[in-house]
């Protein structure tokens, strides 16, 4: 793990391994990293917004649980983004296969499940209020 973190900060290894590719590939990899980073920032912003703009919910601390879940998910997306960027950069320079990742599928399932649960909660709330 420390090796991976050192690799993020030590671009020498990323600059010396293999051959320098067409800069357009590096820049595309950089933009993909930034798109993931903004995805993480959007999740963090969603968590911060849930904590201060949602009214208190009927279930105890449900608002706080939603906020903390979004915040932790956003932080995980950001950390994973820089790790994936470094591994992709290395693979491009070495001419290897790009690293495969289950992370987008897991994230999509997590966000989809969360949205579904909230739809159920909203419907149950509406029916219960009648």
């Amino acid at each position: 793990m420390w090796r991976a973190i050192r690799r993020w900060f030590d671009p020498r290894e990323l600059r010396e391994v293999g051959t320098t590719p067409d800069y357009r590939f590096s820049l595309a990899n950089e933009r993909t990293f930034l798109a993931w980073l903004r995805t993480g920032l959007a999740l963090v912003a969603g968590g911060l917004a849930a904590a201060q703009f949602l009214p208190p919910l009927p279930a105890a601390h449900l608002r706080e649980v939603i906020a903390v879940a979004l915040l932790l998910l956003g932080g995980a997306v950001a950390i994973r983004a820089v790790d994936h960027w470094a591994r992709t950069e290395r693979a491009i320079r070495l001419g290897e296969e790009l690293p495969a990742s289950r992370f987008p599928a897991i994230l999509a399932l997590a966000v989809g499940t969360g949205a579904l649960l909230l739809v159920v909660a909203v419907l149950a709330n509406a029916l219960g209020a009648r």
């Binding site: 993020w8 020498r12 930034l34 920032l41 904590a51 601390h61």
Partner: protein, 106 residues
């Protein structure tokens, strides 16, 4: 118009698109920083300390991103400190948010 000396369109577009991507990221960071400060308001001394950390971190990050966008590093392949620092800062904002939420519950 002197089109003869202009480099091929793609050469200019790729760095331009990357610069704009950094700019959008900086904007998203600013939104997160503002939301963090707003959440921290009225949460006592811990809230003030965390808000100060968020504002200082935001300023340092804008400076780092500015360096990546305009400085000598802007086209360096293999990146630089801007990559891990922006990612770790996003995780840091998430942590500050969790602490503020927990401070509000307690």
């Amino acid at each position: 118009m002197n089109t003869g000396t202009r480099p091929p369109a793609d050469r200019g577009l790729q760095p331009e698109r990357t610069r704009l991507a950094w700019r959008r990221t900086a904007l998203a960071l600013t939104v997160v920083a503002v939301l963090t400060v707003r959440l921290a308001a009225g949460r006592g001394v811990p809230g003030t300390v965390l808000a100060a950390v968020a504002v200082v971190g935001w300023g340092v990050l804008l400076w780092i991103i500015w360096g990546r966008m305009t400085g000598a590093r802007r086209t360096t392949p293999g990146g630089g400190p801007a990559f891990p620092l922006t990612a770790l800062a996003t995780a840091g904002f998430a942590l500050i948010g969790v602490l503020l939420v927990l401070a509000g519950v307690g």
